[in-house]
Symmetry: C2
Subunit: 110 residues, 2 copies
DNA sequence: CCGCATCCTATCGGATACTG
DNA sequence: CAGTATCCGATAGGATGCGG
């Protein structure tokens, strides 16, 4: 009945935990909210998200893609042209993360 | 204007990031949602939150207390009797985390 | 009952250099 | 442009044991 009851399941359910950790990770939340505004290329994302290393950007994108929150479209041209966008699930996640980030920002910076 | 603009500030603002990491941490989210139902003693929390070690429970509580999301009340009796409850800020956090956990759970377990 | 101290491991995440 | 590969330090988090 209670929220806690559900959460005890969580502790026993690594999948739920993993998903939460992915979307709330340092770069995961930034990627999701950046893509919430629309499709972006890899290099655009790298510029949008200040301070992200190539390693972490790729890694984060691959994780979120595996979670089916982000879609990757690679156009077979030279030079490579790869676009990233949110799936429906990704939009759901972003919609939940936005308020959380907003709250944290208000609280941390006054 | 955009959400992303705000988030770029985030990257440069460790305080916001830290707060998000605290409330979305493995045990932080469980503590906040457990306390959302009302005041609990330390030993009750330990039993409520399945699998938490003493070290992590204490550490999580101290972090959230420092963030002013959790209040600690120690009654000067023997044996010690310590109660934990949410502050207004803690209730705000819990209200944002509930939907996120619910979403993750539905998505992870179907 | 409540909490601290210590040790240990795995993972996170940054820096750097290299490829098609 | 869009990655891959490798090394490295810092930290999260578990196990165990002690103390008031």
């Amino acid at each position: 009945m209670s929220v806690v009851r559900d959460l005890q399941l969580d502790t026993a359910c690594p999948d739920t935990r993993a998903l939460v950790e992915h979307v709330t990770s340092k770069w995961g939340v930034l990627v999701l909210l950046a893509l919430e505004e629309g499709t972006q290329r890899w290099s655009e994302l790298k510029r949008s998200i200040d301070g992200v290393s190539e390693k972490m950007l790729i890694q984060t994108l691959q994780t979120l893609e595996a979670d089916q929150l982000v879609r990757r479209d690679a156009l077979p041209v030279v030079p490579p042209h790869v676009e990233y966008s949110l799936t429906d699930g990704g939009r759901e996640a972003a919609a939940l993360l936005g308020p959380l980030m907003h709250w944290a920002q208000l609280r941390a910076q006054g």
